[in-house]
Symmetry: C2
Subunit: 494 residues, 2 copies
């Protein structure tokens, strides 16, 4: 008997009721359906042969055949090449099967075909124990102040914590803190113009369902992190990627866009861009703002890396220079403090914030009151600022270490710029290697990579490295190992 | 000058630059656009007259006229009947205007036309200070153990708290607790078959986008809470409401449905139904399960009120009797412990849970790790069970008090049944009163009602009263006041 062939439960014989008015054929059918539905017989596994089943259930073979035929008609099982029969679906599966196109398929845009299977593999591989995550865009667990956050709750009695549903825009005290937090950054945001969200991804999701029609166009940097998440494409938006130069998103390209009023929006990670690490210059920010105002083109500014500068504070955000209300600004605690809090914010024109708040309520009745309370305490107590400063110091060490390793092991194999903040080194490999092969070989060697193609189909020579997640020791192991892999693959090719 | 007429900022004169190559007309246009975009001149307000503007800005009237014409063409302003000009939109507003149909309009189904403005008013009125909320489906703030929850964090060092991103299905330890929690309730749920979500509403939203096509049909009890939320209708689903009798959803009607395979699903609040308070009998549960299995019709069982029994524990859930994997089961901490935690769960067939977990990650990268940790602690430490028992005692007192008041003040005006658990009394008024009028009069008198029409367009004689939120004192005030209002409205009509 094959390994993946299914066992028949010994006790089932008792359940076929020969005196029942229900025909045996139906009872066999019900038995198989039940085995499949309960997951006892999983999708993809081989059913016992009709002969074996008939023997075990003590029924005629023709009874089993009739049951098989019915279940085949229902789409639950199917014959395979070897003459056997396989489970191919279940009730819920039949339902889920209806719309693979919505979540499985990206919308084509700007010639970009995202490598969905690779993104899936990356997400799953993150949970492999001991894998070295060389591209992960998160703080290393030892940079997350979990204990300090827990300690915040020691003082809770002084202050009271409301754990009912929160106001539609989020806890007012947190919104006031966000407002104070943004002021020295040049962003004048009244608490009524702030919406608390469960992280920047939810911000994008709310914008996508609340402000944009299917068929709208998102103009964005190419490459961009946004290509790696489903949020806009799965709502039927199209992407229009614009090239970047050393100053950031190229403004000339922007002004040449043939936009449809109300159906086009710009998305920019203006500071410590993901994945390139670039910072848009002040001059470029001004031009982009002017062009967008003139074209009446709204901007989503994703500014979650701002506080992670290493060499010098970055230029002011687009939002800080925005006097026309054209910019919708996204911030978050995830990159500096803790992704587990799931706290971010959107700042913008009040009517837009009201609308997004309405949609947020319809989606999840607001973010965790506990997380909102902790976020407020962190910001109010100065813990956020102190931790941001600590993280900057740690990132400097990690960045410098990675850059040193790269110059030892990759100077003949790749080109890169030194990022002045954020998490990423955008590495351009010189040898011509298939990114899927490299990704898989690295994975087989315990190294998880984020290949450039995830952020831009054309970026097949690139890797997004991150110095935020992997430890110094892991870098020490992984960078030389990666060199070896690349050299081998390049040689194989020749 | 009218009250709502806009002021011109005195300092603006300085900003018109007569030496600029930009024509004055464009500068005036930019000024007005800026006033609108910054919210200085809000939508709906009256612009200064062209004459006044021309004087203040020291430009020719024709310059102002040209600017007005351009902005009218752009859809930002419009002339009104009195000969004046109004702000009618702004940049973001133009964008938001594109899709009012998606969020503003419900999908028609089963003849039900939900009263959207009333639901909006209810949501907003909940934040009016001192309003008596006689229909609110939440625990009163004094029944939420905020201090106890805060104290959980005192022991945090014994256990560690991970505040990174969590696993796709949620924190494993919490899923293990949920699994243990459900076992004595007869639901055998492996932690891998549990998905942690941010409350039951998010559960529905994930199901809606992950498993159902536009145009799918949700078969549900009529009336139902589900009619009052947008989650399915805004994704283009249709509702098919079935009547209830004293045993619950009528099974004969169910079996007569002409369903399209893979496009129809049943939604039931089987225990302490919202809004009627009914409990489906064991016999009815069995019939419904059988019919659904035969018809291969999946069921969503929304079981968030189960632990709030007052007189005796309710019969086992549909899920506990489900051996075919046909039931997707929703639970939550919101109704018993704290809505602010935003923690609920979906239990179901593993492939469905995997799919929903995938979508959850794409929406918000998982629920708050802090909330998940607190939820786990509550369940593990026995605090949840202890608090549930306390809440049951309190609800008994509140329910009995409300029923006593009703028999004093409403025995000639209404009919109702005594609920055996949950939050609600489904009150059927005898006099024929327009529900909108009653709602508005009550609101004007400081009482917020949840009229039956919110849950079923045909339920115009009903009110959903809740004994969970309003205090005994508030009931003492509001029930007699409500009697007076209803008597007056009934007399007016005659």
């Amino acid at each position: 008997m094959k390994n993946n062939q299914l066992m028949i439960r010994g006790d089932y014989l008792l359940k076929l009721n020969r005196k029942s008015p229900i025909p045996l054929r139906r009872q066999v059918e019900a038995y198989i359906t039940n085995q499949i539905a309960t997951g006892e017989w999983a999708i993809g596994s081989q059913l016992p042969s009709q002969r074996v089943l008939a023997e075990r259930l003590r029924v005629n073979r023709s009874t089993v055949t009739a049951a098989f035929d019915e279940l085949t008609a229902q789409g639950l099982i199917a014959g395979n090449r070897g003459g056997g029969t396989q489970v191919i679906n279940n009730t819920w599966g039949l339902m889920a099967k209806q719309k693979p196109a919505d979540w499985g398929a990206y919308v084509e845009a700007g010639q970009f075909k995202p490598n969905l299977p690779m993104i899936r593999t990356i997400n799953q591989a993150e949970f492999i124990p001991d894998i070295i995550r060389l591209g992960t865009g998160e703080l290393s667990p030892d940079l997350i102040p979990s204990n300090d956050l827990a300690k915040l709750f020691l003082n809770v009695s002084t202050h009271g914590m409301s754990l009912g549903y929160s106001e539609p825009k989020g806890n007012l005290r947190l919104r006031e803190e966000v407002s104070k937090f943004l002021k020295p950054k040049g962003v004048a945001a009244d608490p009524e113009s702030v919406l608390i969200v469960s992280g920047a991804l939810q911000a994008l999701q709310l914008i996508s369902i609340g402000l944009l029609d299917r068929g709208s166009t998102i103009v964005l940097e190419k490459p961009s992190y946004l290509y790696s998440v489903h949020v806009f494409q799965s709502s039927g938006m199209r992407f229009y990627g614009l090239p970047m130069d050393s100053e950031g998103l190229m403004v000339d390209c922007l002004s040449q866009i043939n936009k449809e009023r109300g159906k086009t929006i710009v998305y920019s990670i203006s500071t410590f861009h993901n994945p390139t690490g670039k910072v848009m210059t002040s001059a470029r920010r001004k031009s982009i703002l002017n062009v967008c105002e003139r074209m009446r083109l709204p901007i989503i500014e994703d500014d979650v890396y701002r506080d992670l500068w290493i060499d010098a504070p970055p230029p002011p955000s687009l939002k800080s220079m925005d006097h026309s209300g054209n910019v919708l600004y996204i911030g978050s605690l995830s990159k500096v403090l803790s992704p587990g809090l799931r706290i971010g914010w959107i700042v913008g024109e009040r009517s837009v914030i009201n609308r997004l708040a309405d949609i947020k309520m319809q989606n999840d009745y607001g973010s965790s009151a506990l997380s909102q309370w902790a976020a407020e305490e962190c910001m109010r107590s100065g813990m956020y600022e102190a931790h941001a400063s600590y993280v900057r110091d740690q990132l400097r060490i990690r960045r410098d270490y990675m850059l040193d390793l790269l110059s030892v092991y990759f100077s003949d194999l790749a080109k890169w710029s030194s990022p002045s903040g954020g998490f990423y080194v955008w590495l351009k490999l010189i040898p011509d290697i298939d990114p899927n092969t490299l990704f898989e070989c690295a994975l087989a060697n315990g190294i998880l990579l984020n290949p450039g193609v995830v952020y831009d189909r054309a970026a097949s020579h690139y890797l997004r490295l991150s110095y935020a997640y992997a430890s110094i020791n892991e870098m020490d192991q992984a960078i030389p190992a990666l060199r070896k892999l690349i050299v081998n693959l390049a040689e194989e090719k020749v």
